[in-house]
Symmetry: C2
Subunit: 236 residues, 2 copies
């Protein structure tokens, strides 16, 4: 029996967007051939497969969960379908799996067992935000979420600004949408007036909004960021 492959399945960045606006037709076709998935969130995975018009009824599709609560010792068992000769798809809530989510552990387990890993091309909000920001795209760093406590968050922002200046490197981070405005407050009170700051929210959706300006320009002309998921970028 030949082992199956692990396909890294990209999903839409915006759940309202048509699948054909987000993914190559050949990728959608490849997804139609998969029956077994490891997903970050079952509900959004089901909505996505329905939007892809997956030819198999959803109740006949196997889905197991890999999220931040999954224990490391459970990871290898998720490769079960591959060992039984079936291809397996890994999906995160939005964008590319195994980037800014817990999926990398499954990919690492696949490499350890000699399972072929096939990354299917699709959008990444982190890289679309970077491209659209006009900030340094030849050197950049993604650091995930900032600390929740205000004092620590401001310390972290200062540290990121310093690193950006020293390495001429764009610093990229994310935040849960209801903290968008609080994060902007912190940037405006913490960062240097000349630092360039960018917010890319609602990427690829009808509410897409991208703005890059210096901290002093943001302070002078501030508009609400809204409640869409956003990517934040700074270059000192």
């Amino acid at each position: 029996m030949t082992a199956g492959k692990l396909y890294l399945v990209p999903t839409r960045l915006d759940e309202e967007a048509p699948v054909l606006a987000a993914l190559p037709a050949a990728v959608i076709e490849r997804i139609h051939g998969l029956r077994d998935f490891v997903v970050e969130d079952a509900k959004s995975a089901r909505r996505f497969l329905a939007a892809c018009r997956h030819p198999v009824p959803l109740r006949e599709i196997s889905m197991t969960i890999l999220d931040e609560h999954t224990a490391p010792r459970e990871i290898a068992t998720l490769l079960g379908p591959v060992r039984e000769g079936r291809d397996l798809g890994l999906m995160s809530e939005a964008g590319l799996p195994a980037v800014a989510d817990p999926g990398a552990a499954l990919v690492a387990a696949a490499h350890a067992e000699g399972v072929s890993v096939v990354p299917l091309p699709g959008p990444s909000s982190i890289l679309l935000a970077l491209a659209a920001s006009g900030l340094e795209g030849q050197r950049f760093r993604f650091v995930g979420y900032l600390p929740v406590r205000p004092a620590e968050r401001r310390d972290r922002l200062r540290e990121l600004e310093e690193r950006s200046a020293r390495d001429r490197e764009t610093q990229i981070f994310i935040e849960t949408p209801y903290r968008n405005e609080a994060l902007l407050d912190d940037v405006l009170t913490t960062c240097r007036p000349t630092t360039r700051f960018a917010v890319a929210s609602g990427l690829t959706g009808t509410n897409e909004h991208i703005r890059t300006a210096t901290v002093s320009e943001w302070a002078r002309r501030r508009a609400p960021l809204g409640k869409s998921p956003a990517v934040f970028l700074l270059l000192a």
Copy 2:
């Protein structure tokens, strides 16, 4: 007259791959509506538009060059079509423009003039490599090319390994394909045996090859990397 928009146009990672395997159908349709482009390389841009079956004859399409030889003072003039009310597409040689290429300067100029920037979704070799490596995807850093001189290159590798260990962050870099083997030599002689090292080459093409292993495993079982463009990643 309304100003045009600046579209960030993704291209294929592999020139042999069908466009429908690389880009969403809606993105290809959007490209069909553009008549003016700023491109990193005219030859590959023409091949790409032909592969997209662009409905306008190539001689009627305007292309200006933005590459590493473009002087900063020339950048703003490239936005001419936008000021005349026409949409403009920015394209790099492969993947997303304004990432790991000189395109960000044009995007920055667009923001400075209040021109809308629209990033069209498409593949990025850097992020596909990261996802497929199974290395840390919640914290990562892209540093571009390493220094050419061997001693400096090894110093840089040591520095990247140290940073990776300290920040638990995947370090990502690229190299011109004919130096792939020399770079692997340097990694094997410079990095710690337990450091995980990944090579993703020929992404999305028929020669796609992805391998993640510790430095000691690479040394024990080394296979030729080939001459395809590759992305390199390490996690100490």
